[in-house]
């Protein structure tokens, strides 16, 4: 068994053990069932809610908002990172702001966004974009900084245009670092949108979780939470596997 596979098995075993422990604690009353329900009930609740079809609209609304925010963040972050890399003076100004960006609670802008953009999907998309874009920008900058000067020389020797140099050499070379930004961006977009819905919106999965919480519907709340968690883990897992394939290609011994 490879070291990698062994680590994966240990990880799964630890997680399974913790879930089992929680199940036992809930079933035996060590943890008050009004506070946390057993994981098996969470799974049952999730299946009931998702298969009932009642949440179809919320699921579509939430995940389409996340997808739009994610794609926009990738586009804006990549472009912004490239521009900052190109203009070093601008970068000198923006760098400290980027570094401290995540200390700003972007949710406080939601009322302003609603006032500006109306009570629609747009404020949530903007919230997701605001959360996710800096991660892509930072990773783009880091990726561009890491492009080997000899490859840029090669591009000149091959007489490539700036666009082809970017597309054929710079972006593929920067991709592993960019990928780390993409993974973070997905997480931040998800957090931004769900939290926005949870706190301030009247629709979407975040709102449904909030509604269940305020109605003392613990079972519903945990079922929905588990569903969001599962989707986030699966989406990140796909990116993780993709990233792993890229990394193996570049570092295979």
């Amino acid at each position: 068994m490879t070291r990698r596979r062994a680590a994966l098995l240990v990880r799964i075993a630890v997680l399974a053990g913790l879930v089992l422990l929680l199940e036992i604690c809930c079933r035996t009353g060590i943890i008050d069932p009004l506070t946390v329900i057993p994981p098996s009930d969470m799974v049952a609740s999730m299946i009931e809610h998702v298969s009932s079809g009642d949440l179809d609209e919320s699921i579509t609304q939430t995940f389409s908002t996340i997808a739009i925010a994610f794609v926009l963040a990738i586009g804006l972050g990549t472009l912004g990172g490239a521009l900052l890399h190109r203009w070093s003076r601008l970068r000198d100004i923006v760098d400290p702001l980027l570094a401290s960006y995540y200390s700003v609670p972007t949710f406080i802008f939601y009322p302003l966004l609603v006032a500006l953009l109306g009570l629609s999907k747009a404020p949530l998309v903007v919230l997701g974009v605001l959360s996710a874009t800096p991660a892509v920008m930072i990773s783009m900058l880091s990726g561009l900084d890491g492009v080997s000067p000899v490859l840029l020389k090669l591009a000149r020797v091959q007489r490539l245009s700036p666009a082809r140099t970017l597309w054929w050499i710079v972006l593929p070379e920067a991709l592993p670092r960019l990928f780390s930004g993409f993974k973070l961006a997905l997480s931040y977009a998800l957090i931004g949108v769900i939290a926005g819905e949870f706190i301030l919106s009247g629709t979407g999965l975040g709102y449904s979780i909030s509604f269940a919480y305020q109605s003392f519907d613990n079972r519903g709340m945990y079922g929905l939470m588990l569903f969001v968690l599962l989707v986030a883990v699966i989406a990140n897992g796909i990116l993780y596997v993709w990233e792993g394939r890229l990394a193996r290609r570049r570092s295979a011994g």
């Binding site: 000899v150 020797v157 007489r159 593929p172 070379e173 290609r249 011994g253």
Partner: protein, 268 residues
């Protein structure tokens, strides 16, 4: 000391080339240099560390514009752009990690208007020529340093350049591999008929491979000696056992020793 091409027609001409780097302080990197390289010649440049050998190569291929003077390739003056017909192999590994060996080799032809069939033929030939057939589907990370350098040479080869510039391409390789790579380079030179300019710090490598070796002074680099080796065109690494080989490397070292001491801050 003569820096002209001697018998053959000139392929590359440097006329009073100077290259400085803006400061402060201003760095006087190169020149003034007058040089003519013959068409089909194997010309090597040796010199102490930091004497401007790589700057000379950048100027020769058009990557860097001279501060003053002119560079002509096939009669046309260069203006800070690499002309068609010039291929460069760098000292650093410039293989693209995200492409297979075959894709790396074919990269040079991505912008060409050649038919797909001809592209495939040229790539196949370059891969075969450099002994990479078994590794065509591998990624650079799966290859040794020497093989990655062969990929870079093959990528230059598919362009069928008339002038090949090599900047210490074997610097990271062990001695045996260097000798074998030298043989492959000589074979490449003979079969393509290209003009080859090799920048190297290894005197034996320069003496073994070249028709002519230019010895550069400490910075600002100028040619202080020009050595004709007189080797036949059909040669390989076994020439190191030739009785003249020792005399050649001794002459190169004798020209270079004082300059090397200067770069170390000592006087001969």
């Amino acid at each position: 000391m003569s820096t002209d091409a001697g018998g053959g027609p000139s392929h590359v001409t440097l006329n009073r080339v100077v290259r400085n780097y803006e400061g402060p302080p201003v760095v006087y990197a190169l020149g003034p240099i007058d040089l003519e390289i013959r068409r089909g010649e194997f010309f090597s440049v040796v010199g102490p560390s930091g004497c401007g050998k790589s700057t000379l190569l950048d100027v020769l291929c058009g990557l860097v514009r001279p501060t003053s003077g002119s560079v002509r390739f096939e009669g046309k003056e260069l203006h800070g752009e690499v002309p068609e017909g010039v291929g460069v192999v760098f000292q650093e590994d410039s293989s693209m990690r995200w492409l297979t060996v075959r894709q790396n080799v074919a990269f040079g032809l991505r912008t060409s208007n050649l038919p797909q069939k001809e592209i495939a033929e040229r790539v196949d030939h370059a891969i075969r020529f450099m002994g990479l057939v078994q590794f065509a589907g591998h990624y650079p990370a799966q290859l040794s340093g020497g093989m990655r350098q062969r990929v870079c040479i093959a990528r230059t080869l598919v362009l069928q350049p008339r002038l090949i510039l090599l900047d210490e391409p074997f610097a990271a390789l062990d001695q045996q591999t260097r000798l074998l790579m030298g043989d492959e380079l000589l074979r490449l030179w003979r079969e393509t008929g290209a003009t080859v300019v090799l920048i190297t710090h290894a005197l034996d490598e320069a003496a073994m491979l070249s028709d002519r070796v230019g010895v550069m002074s400490a910075r600002p680099g100028c040619f202080i000696d020009m050595v004709e080796t007189g080797w036949p065109r059909q040669r390989d690494s076994r020439i190191v056992s030739d009785q003249n080989f020792g005399a050649l490397t001794a002459r190169l070292w004798s020209s270079l020793r004082e300059e090397s001491l200067k770069t170390m801050g000592r006087v001969a």
